[in-house]
Symmetry: C2
Subunit: 71 residues, 2 copies
DNA sequence: CGCTGATGTCAAACATGTTTTACACGCGGT
DNA sequence: ACCGCGTGTAAAACATGTTTGACATCAGCG
């Protein structure tokens, strides 16, 4: 599965900066590394389902407010 | 990430049988194999974010109607 | 200028998810 | 009894996501 990239979009950069968080701080809060957050922000790959849930939860918004499926 | 299992719950078995689909038929509709569907139904592991989206879409329900984050 | 924090990136190792192939079981129908 | 179908399971190979450690750039500030 998960063929050519471009399917799962996110706006975690906006959500993150709106809260004055660095990539490293967000990473720490969701239990990941800053490299992972960076890669996800740039949509180099999609996060695991679990990490996607954690990120939405840290932001305090609904899942679909962060993640969108394209196609 | 994705430490000890038990975090992402789903009720795709109910949704699937309610629609009279076999694991193999569902697998085909979401572009996966029946083994993958089987493993996910039994929560042996969580699917990728993309596959999770596809499954919810095939069922025609909202994402949160299929997937739940625990903890 | 030199320092620090934030970000981008890369390669190797590692963890997790997925496919392929194969075999087993139970059940309903013929 | 035999079939066909749906399901559970397993191991190996493969694909994807994640971490670790490192290095580079840039902006802001002393």
């Amino acid at each position: 599965m998960s063929r050519r990239s471009g399917r799962v979009r996110n706006n975690i950069r906006d959500l993150r900066t709106a809260r004055g968080l660095s990539q490293g701080e967000l990473a720490e809060q969701v239990g990941a590394t800053r490299q992972t957050i960076n890669a996800i922000e740039q949509e180099k790959y999609a996060p695991s389902l679990e990490l996607a849930f954690r990120i939405a939860r840290v932001f305090g918004v609904k899942f679909e407010a962060v993640w969108e499926f394209e196609d």
